[in-house]
């Protein structure tokens, strides 16, 4: 038997065999600094599953049997548990502390959602089972659709997009299809404010549009006159985020919608910040034609270290006939699943029925809060952001003062001027104080932006502690204690990581340092 962990480690630093990892605690943190790679502790003969070894009675593989080695490392079940539990302890999560990432919405993830999503009636059903055997799943999709349409006052919803950016793509495809059907296919320009999420211009370009930036006013919002000036018969749509990425509600949004419609274009709203207004303002009343809703942000499905997300897109009556398939339709006696594009419907944007597992979690979050609780959650999210703004704004300057913010508070880094401490240094110092940093350097329109989103699930006590730490750090930076910032983080599983080196000479997988041992078979 060969032990792969006898080889050299793959990079600089010391990999140690499982069970003997250094346990270094620098600040009461119980995180482990070193966990070897799976490939350094695993073995090609180890396995954590017990499967019968069968003799196949004649092969039907047509001569395509594998001859090359796979080179996969295996772990026994106890080794697997330790490896992944140890790795997990190197992560910050919303269940370990406040995660004020602006625009990302890190709120409490209820465990009822997880428990229910694992019921066999949801987790163990196949997307292509006879429709008669999945009526409960279709009813759930229908109910989720009802909630989304009611909260937004829109005519239709396409549930299938796999993430917010995928929802944007579906919504913009529907706009494109509607315009082509109306003989307006010559419209090739999409207006996007400079402060927009990067996915907006990327989505527009992805669909063959050219992107034209719309400037913001000094108060951080878009001026209807600026939109009118940019509109022309070649404009297909505007993609506007509301509340916007500066954390502000666009006060002229209704006039903007009217101007856009007058010019024969559509109004796409990036719904990433819908949790600031759910139950309080219905986007359909503002004149939007399409808006994706990040179920993982707004209705709290766990982010899982980057996904899976879910990005249903609501559509106005004008766009409803151009929704992608599949969707649920009420039939006689039972619910039907419309699986093929009829008439003007777009085709399919993903193989099956979208993120059912996320639908379950989102609907549970809705039922638990109710319409009343969702409105209260939006109000509390806005209250929390304004509270942070009020407590910090004498030290941390607010780029667009004199107006309440929505669910996120935006600051700039002018307080660090002349201190020798960068915005990034400041963020890393926050890690040492036990907080995940806020969103840094976004939106791009604000120099050294710090976008703080507390969400509705943070208590006043937590917000106060966060504000106290922010103010203390600012005082320390201005007092000239630069080293505290430039050396941060000290109390994290890793010190500052060299991102330039990673990009210049990419190492994207583990490489074996010694020849592969002979196959055991």
């Amino acid at each position: 038997m060969s032990m792969n962990n006898q080889g050299r480690p793959t990079g600089v630093g010391t990999a140690v065999p499982a069970g003997t990892s250094d346990f270094t605690s620098t600040s009461g943190s119980s995180l482990l600094p070193n966990e070897p790679l799976l490939f350094e502790i695993g073995d090609r003969e180890h396995s954590g599953v017990d499967l019968p070894d069968v003799a196949i009675d004649g092969s039907f593989l047509g001569g395509f049997e594998r001859k090359s080695e796979i080179d996969l490392a295996g772990l026994t079940e106890p080794e697997t548990l330790r490896h992944y539990v140890r790795l997990s302890r190197l992560n910050y999560s919303i269940d370990s502390g406040m995660y004020p990432l602006g625009s990302c919405t890190m709120k409490h993830n209820p465990r009822l959602n997880e428990k229910m999503a694992r019921l066999a009636g949801f987790a163990d059903i196949h997307p292509l089972q006879p429709v008669s055997t999945v009526q409960g799943a279709l009813a759930l999709m229908d109910e989720l659709a009802h909630w989304l349409m009611t909260l937004t006052n829109t005519a239709a919803v396409c549930l299938t997009p796999k993430a917010g950016a995928h929802g944007e793509m579906a919504g913009m495809m529907a706009i494109k299809a509607a315009q082509e059907a109306a003989g307006q296919g010559h419209r090739k320009i999409v207006l996007v404010p400079e402060s927009a999420h990067g996915t907006n211009p990327a989505t527009a370009a992805f669909l063959g549009y050219s992107v034209k930036a719309v400037p913001a006013r000094d108060d951080g919002t878009v001026d209807v006159e600026a939109v009118k000036a940019a509109l022309s018969p070649d404009v297909a749509a505007i993609m506007l985020t509301n509340p916007n990425t500066c954390g502000l509600f666009e006060p002229e949004v209704i006039d903007i919608a009217a101007a856009v419609h007058e010019a024969g274009a559509f109004f796409y709203c990036d719904g990433a910040n819908f949790n600031a207004i759910m139950g309080v303002v219905r986007p359909g009343d503002l004149g939007i034609d399409a808006m994706h809703i990040n179920l993982h942000k707004t209705f709290s499905t766990p982010h899982g270290g980057g996904g899976p997300g879910a990005g249903p897109v609501v559509l106005s009556a004008a766009l409803a006939p151009f929704a992608p398939v599949p969707f649920v339709r009420k039939g006689e006696g039972q619910l039907a699943l419309v699986e093929h594009a009829e008439g003007q419907h777009l085709g399919r944007i993903t193989a099956f029925n979208g993120q059912m597992g996320m639908y379950v979690r989102a609907l549970i979050y809705m039922l638990s809060h109710g319409g009343d609780g969702l409105a209260q959650a939006a109000k509390d999210a806005v209250l929390n952001a304004n509270y942070i703004k009020a407590r910090l704004e004498r030290v941390f300057s607010v780029p667009f003062p004199g107006q309440p913010c929505m669910h996120e508070a935006l600051f700039d880094d002018s307080f660090l001027e002349g201190t020798g401490v960068s915005t990034l240094d400041f963020a890393k110092a926050l890690i040492d104080e036990g907080f995940h940093p806020m969103t840094m350097y976004f939106p791009l329109v604000v120099h050294g932006a710090m976008l703080v989103e507390p969400t509705e699930s943070e208590s006043k006590q937590t917000l106060d502690r966060f504000c106290d730490v922010m103010l203390e750090l600012a005082t320390d930076a201005r007092a000239g204690n630069v080293a505290r910032f430039t050396s941060a983080p000290l109390n994290a599983p890793r010190r500052r990581l060299d991102e330039t080196r990673a990009a210049r000479s990419p190492v994207l997988k583990w490489e074996r340092q010694e020849p592969l041992p002979e196959a055991a078979e």
């Binding site: 630093g13 990999a15 966990e35 790679l37 695993g42 396995s47 954590g48 019968p52 039907f60 593989l61 594998r66 996969l72 295996g74 079940e77 490896h83 997990s88 302890r89 992560n91 910050y92 919303i94 370990s96 009636g121 163990d124 196949h126 997307p127 055997t133 799943a137 009611t150 796999k162 917010g164 950016a165 370009a205 209704i254 139950g279 303002v281 982010h303 899982g304 270290g305 980057g306 699986e339 399919r348 993903t350 193989a351 099956f352 029925n353 059912m356 549970i364 969702l374 209260q376 806005v382 929390n384 304004n386 509270y387 309440p404 208590s459 890793r494 010190r495 990673a502 990009a503 994207l508």
Partner: protein, 451 residues
Amino acid sequence: MRYLPHSEHERADMLAVIGARTAEDLFARVPAHALLREPVNLPRHAPEFLVEARMKALAGRNHAAGDGPFFIGAGAYRHHVPASVDHLIQRSEWLTAYTPYQPEVSQGTLQMLFEFQTQVAHLTGMEVANASMYDGSTATAEAVLMARRLTRRNRIILSGGLHPHYRDVVRTYLGDGPDLVCLPPSPEGQGDILNRIDAETAAIVVQTPDFYGHLRDLRAAADAAHAAGALLIVVVTEVVSLGLIEAPGALGADIVVCEGQSIGNSLNFGGPYVGLMATRKEFIRQMPGRLCGETVDADGNRGFVLTLSTREQHIRREKATSNICTNSGLCALAFSIHMSLLGEAGLKKLARLNHHNAVKLARMLGTVPGVELLNKSFFNEMTIRLPVPAAPVVEMLAKAEVLAGLPVSRLEPDNPACENLIVLAATELTTDDDIAMLAECLHAALAEDVQ
């Protein structure tokens, strides 16, 4: 409102600090007539036990795959997921973490992604893999766009053995036009894709095992594509097959995309799933999606970061390689844990077990009068032709609680050649009793139908 921490008293204190009179003052910038005066017409908040009862009632109206004999595959497979996989992914630090934007406190997720990328690269026989895509179908569409960027050619040819849903997704992404050639369904494993390659072709897309279960000759496809300066994109919807079948990378594939659901992830009615994408090292700057790379920290310790992000939308905006700004992190984690548990030895055994059961299924189907097996080769999935339309037969068997497979007409409603076809899969969970029950019910249904 069990998730909202403030008391009314605290709300009032906070408003005082802000200098606002009421919470409504904070919405002052919303045009007054757009602010809802009445609550939305939706149910009020509900206690946990009532929500739980409601969800159980909905779940109870579905027939779960484990409730009886089950033979549906067609791009989503029912495999056993070891208990430790689900236990581990529910740990808070995995479940409730975000994108690793602060790598110093996200090393768990980042190291996992690095290990995942290595597993996917090894499994597919390719040089590099990304940190996952939404699913296999969207990964296929992205691979096609990537091939266009790489070759600066436009024509894409989709094999008739490609999953019809995948074909439809590519068609939606690309739009109908002369540069997208979709070959007709090839249930008997036939196909003339190699003769269709020309000097305009950016890539051909070949699935193996294909939608109908046939194993396809990738070496011949790679040679033909490369001779014309085109790329070979290989699609694998059943990754367990790679434990037994030659890696696409060893046969000349340029881009490999897979649906990774089979390893570690439940059926979930179609999602969330996890798309795998792997390619040659020289193509990484045109590969969409996240990448995790190795580096060192200020103390010289090994660490991991997201890298090469200049390809991505948050840096390049309208010039990005795609609009994707996430990955299927938790599903990739489930894949990686299950793959670690299996290891090389376990994956090979699992693949053999799947093939073993499929051989038994094929043999049993061969004994049912009127059933014709179309496959000469298969891994765990096959196509049969009935003497009568398949959909009513499948529906009849469902009433007997036997989920017999997919009537191809559900995906190809306009194609009369598909009307009598059923695609069926066996996995390690398929028992001899299940197979016997299927054969018996099919026999009875056909006998009844013929009368």
